[in-house]
Structure formats: C-alpha cells, structure tokens
C-alpha cells in the first residue's frame, strides 16, 4: 500500500489536571487501509479519538495530515480537513428520516427553502457508492431502521462530506451477527474506496476480519503498531492486557514504577 500515511500523529501527550492520559502516542492512518485501534478500558482510545477530532486539544506532539502539519482546535477544524467520527451512541434523530439525518446541521438550501431534492439525490448517491441495499426508502424514519441500518446511516453521514479519514467508535458493539457482518463489510468498502479508516473495537474477531494494521494502546502508551497479517490473536490480547508480547510492545516495567496499594499494614 501507500508508503506515506494520510494522518500521522507523533508524540501526543494529553493530561487532565494531574492525570496524564496519553504518553508520547504515535499513530499512522494510511489511505485505503483499516487501522484498528485496540486497548483495554481506560487505555486512552476515546481520548486519542477526541484529540484527533478536535474535542480535546493536545498538550504536546504533532499531527500531520496529507503531508502538512496541522493544528486541530475544534471539531470544525477536523471536519474541514475531512476527518469524521462516527460515535458509538450514533447521534441520529429518531423522528427524522434518513436524508434529514444525513444532512443534519449542514442542510442544502435554495434560497430560504430546504433543497430536499438535491439532498435526496446526494444521500442516494452516497448510499449507492457504499453499495447499501438494505434500506427500502430514503424517506424512512430512522426509528424504523434496524441497528445495523442505523449504523449504516451514521457511517454514510460521515462519508457524505468528502471525508478522507473516518473514525468508527465501536460500530458493532450493539449489533447481532448478521448485522455485524454487514457493517464490517461496509467498513472494508470505505477503505477500498480510498479512505483512511480507524476502527475502534473490543472484538478481536472484528479486528482481524477487516483491519490491515492494528495499533494497541496500553495505559496511555502506544504498545505496538503492527500489520494484522504479522500477528496472532493471542499476541494482540497480550498487547492489550500486558502492553507487550514477546519482542513486541513496551519494555518491561520496572517494579519501582509501581506504588503498592494493597490493603494491609503500612509499607
């Protein structure tokens, strides 16, 4: 695949007050590839995503997008670059239809009036480009869609805006087997269409099913960034739970770095 990453993070630090959540994190997102971001709860996945999407500002480090160093201060900056995030809790309005949801907050207008026809055409075009065949009508209310279809709409909403990097936060967490397969197929298709895709997931089957690269976070540090083909299932699990696996991952911790919080007599 392409040698230069589309999105490149170097040495990202992020603290909340006295707590440092991200230590010197680096991440590469390549166009046309799915990069899985894995890690245990509290490893810093969400924080990293929020730094990329501009919800949090970074304390140190550089973000390079398409070869240029960029500063992302707000979600608007991220959208302007073409970085879109599909959040876990979907952020769709049940009482609106598919087209209305896809254009929410960025409606097309002709004069004073909403340009429904153009929006419907663009929405249909986008869904077609993703080979979505499961919705009956573009004017269906989102409330009447299944979990997988809703996730599809949320993803389509993200790619509608000429986006170049799409970050998916646990897109399959609430789905059944068949729907998970559908969504994963869609994730793969995004990458095949040339986008850089970041997939956050807890499910190792999903990760190995679609990703080209795997980046494992461990306690706020990037334990390893590897090609999915080069590692095994259990190696990734070790990276997630212990931060290293054989010669992969972080150097062994020195016991001195730990404070004993075991209850009992004072140390």
């Amino acid at each position: 695949m392409t040698a230069t990453p589309l999105l490149e993070l170097r040495g990202i630090d992020k603290s909340f007050g006295p707590v440092q959540v991200l230590h010197d994190v680096g991440l590469n997102v390549y166009p046309g590839e799915v990069t899985a971001l894995v890690g245990d709860n509290g490893a810093g996945k969400s924080t990293l995503v929020k730094c990329i999407s501009g919800i949090y500002t970074i304390d140190a480090g550089t973000v390079t997008f398409d070869g240029d160093e960029v500063a992302i201060h707000s979600p608007r900056d991220a959208s302007a670059l073409g970085i879109e995030v599909v959040y876990q809790d979907l952020a769709l309005c049940d009482n609106l239809d598919i087209v209305q949801n896809m254009f929410l907050g960025r409606e097309k207008k002709s004069g004073l009036v909403l340009d429904e026809a153009t929006m419907e055409e663009m929405a249909g075009e986008t869904l077609r480009s993703l080979s979505v065949r499961t919705v009956k009508s573009l004017r269906q209310l989102v409330a009447s869609l299944s979990g997988g279809q809703r996730q599809t709409v949320a993803i389509a909403k993200a790619v509608l805006w000429n986006s170049r990097v799409v970050i998916l936060d646990e897109p399959t967490a609430a789905l059944g087997v068949a729907q998970t397969a559908q969504v994963l197929e869609l994730v793969r298709r995004l990458a095949d269409n040339g986008l850089g895709v970041v997939l956050i997931s807890h499910n190792m089957n999903d990760v190995f099913a679609v990703s080209d690269r795997i980046a494992a976070l461990y306690l706020g540090r990037m334990a390893a960034e590897v090609k999915a083909a080069d590692v095994t299932h259990s190696q990734i699990v070790e990276l997630i739970t212990a931060g290293r696996s054989g010669d992969l991952g972080l150097p062994a911790e020195k016991p001195a770095e730990f404070i004993d919080i075991t209850p009992g007599e004072a140390p």
Binding site: N95, L104, G105, R139, S144
Partner: protein, 420 residues
Amino acid sequence: MTTTTTTTTAGGIQAVKPTVASHVRDYWARVRGGDLGALPAVLGLLVLTLIFSVARSDTFLSALNFANLFNQSAQVVFIAMGLVFVLLLGEIDLSAGFASGVCGAVLAILLTNEGLPWSVAIPAAMLTGVVIGLVLGLLVTKLGIPSFVVTLAAFLGFQGILLTLLEGGKNISITDEFVNSLNKSNLSVTWSWVVTLVGVAGFALAQLNRYRARASRNLVTEPFGIVATRIVALGLLLVAGTWVLTQERSINPAINSLKGVPIVVPIIAVFMVIWTFVLGRTTYGRHVYAVGGNTEAARRAGIPVDRIRISVFVIGSFMASIGGILIVSRAGSVDPNTGGSNVLLYSVGAAVIGGTSLFGGKGKVINAVIGGAVIAVIDNGMGLMGFSSGQKFIFTGLVLLAAASVDALARRRAAATGNR
C-alpha cells in the same frame, strides 16, 4: 464521494414507484404502527359533529353557529399553534393563557387610555408577546430551570400583571373599529369567494409544483392520484364551507345582514400556512424537530440548541399575543380574566388532541387547528344541548385525557414496531 474509485455496483436504493394502492397500504401500516398523526382528532371531530347535529339540528347546524365556531375558537387556536413549537421540544408553556391576556391589556390600554391608533397598539401587543417569550426562554435555557416551573411561576405572575395593568380589575372597552372587526366582522361575499379560490389555487399549485419538481429529477414521487385527491378534497371542503358562510345567517336580515366568511378565518389560515412552511421547509424548522427528537445529536451536528429553545418560547408567546388581540376584539373589552380560566388548558388540549406529542419531536401546526376545532365543537355543542359549564369541563378533561392516552399508547406501540 470524491475518492479514487467508487464501486458503483448495481443495486443501490430500490426506487419502487408507489401506486395509489401501495400508498394507502403504507399509510395504514404507519397508522397501525402507532404513527396516528391527526387521525383520532379528525375522527373525533366527525363523530362529535354528527352527535350534535342529530341532537340539536336546529341550532348546532345553523350557518350562524358555524360562523360562531371560528370566532369562539380563534384565541385557543392561536395559542395552540404557538404551543406546538414549545411542545415539539418537549417543553411546556403554562403561562400562554395569561400572556395573551397581558398582551390584550397592553392593546386595550394603548388604544383606549392612551388614544393611540391600532397601527401602534397591535405591534406593541405583539412585541410584548415576543419579550415575554424571550424572558421565559432565557430562564429555561440559561438558568436551566424546567419550563414547567418557569411558566407556572409566570402563570401566576402574569395574572398579577394583568390585574395591576387593569388597576385592580377595571374593565377597559375598545372602540377602535379595526380591532373590533378582526374577530367580529365578515368578509363581503365577493371577497369570501376570492379568498377561498385563491387559497385552493395556491394549495393546488404548491402541490403540483412539488410533484413536478421531484418527478423531473427522477425522485420517488407520491402517486399522482393521491396528490389530485388531496387537492380536490381540500377544494370541495373549502368551497362547501364558503358556500354555507356566504348564506344569509342573520335572524332578522332586514335590520342587520350577516353573511360572508369571518375575517378571522383567513387570519388563522395565513398563520397556519406560514408556520407550516417554517416547520416543514426551512432549516430552522428541521432543527426544531432535531432538537426535539435527540438534543445530543442536534448539538453534535452543530445546531445552536439553546437558541432554538429560546426561539420556540418566543414563537409561543408571540402567537399567544395574537390570540389575546383576537379575544379582545371579540369581547370588545379586557377584564382580569381575559386569557384566564380554561383558555390555557383548552389550548394545550387543542395541540395534544390534534396529535402533537407531549414527549417532543412530533407534531404539526395543523394539529393545533384541528384540535382547536374539536374543543370548540365540544364547548359549543354541549352548551347548545344545555349542559352546565361543570359538565363541559368534565367532558373536555376526559377528551384531553383520551388524547394523551392515545399519544402514550401510540408511542408504546411505535416502540414495539420500531416506528417511533
């Protein structure tokens, strides 16, 4: 998508052209799935009209009474149209009744006590409504007080302001001809027909234009039969109504001829069209629905949630001010109970009976008008049948309860069928 290659494989969205039959089937499926809209209110209106017509065919069915219904319900319908916006966000405005009273008092004081012309007094009354809404909206959004509490406090406060404005309960009469004509007089027979025909033609043009625009871009359109049926049905309804209203309905025509469509009818129609357009065809309306449906999603989409929330209270109180102007016009005076007693409850009832959800996110302006018609028919018909006020209140309360239960049950059913 602008990226390298888009795999435009065959398939995509199935563009099945709906037929009249499939359209009717789809509608019925939506109703069964809990998306009732104004259907219960329309059915209720038919049933009630039928009952009262049979029981009191001499009085209820008379053209005089038919015209009366519009004048009687104007205030409630206007407040209810404003409340639809507030209810769409899942908020409530309990002060709308007395807000309309305060605006009515402002109008009366400027006209009678200050001797100003209506061209100053009416805008001043409307502005009062806007200011009231702005204050309510700011308290709800910026301080985060639940709208129930803010407007309950305002309900009491405005009652006090009304009393103070009327200096302890004096009655101020209006002599201004223009203001008095708004909710008392009728259009001439010629104008009645002109307004009706322009209205029908406008509706037909808007519907056909939309159909043509979508068809020319190869988008899925409603079947032409449905569009045509809708135009013909509305046309027949309006023409029939106008025909009845242009008959002589005075008890003693020699002394005082009474015919023509009440002026208040086109006033209601104009506001209904404007707000329907705003809700259905503008970005603002779309955002109101979005905030009512999922506030968090709306915020993430970059919609200024607080500003939308304030704006619906402004619209609510603005419409209440027009309701106040119309009730003052009808009564010819303001007293401390203008906008009090059952006005607010009838207005909330009108919006909810018409099919606006109390849970937010669902409702149309026309719901308020249909619901207002139901309330007016109950109030008027039961009065003519000789029921006491007490009995009318009990029955209206039961109807409101029934409407709210329909809303709640439909919601449950919708949740079960995944149709909202």
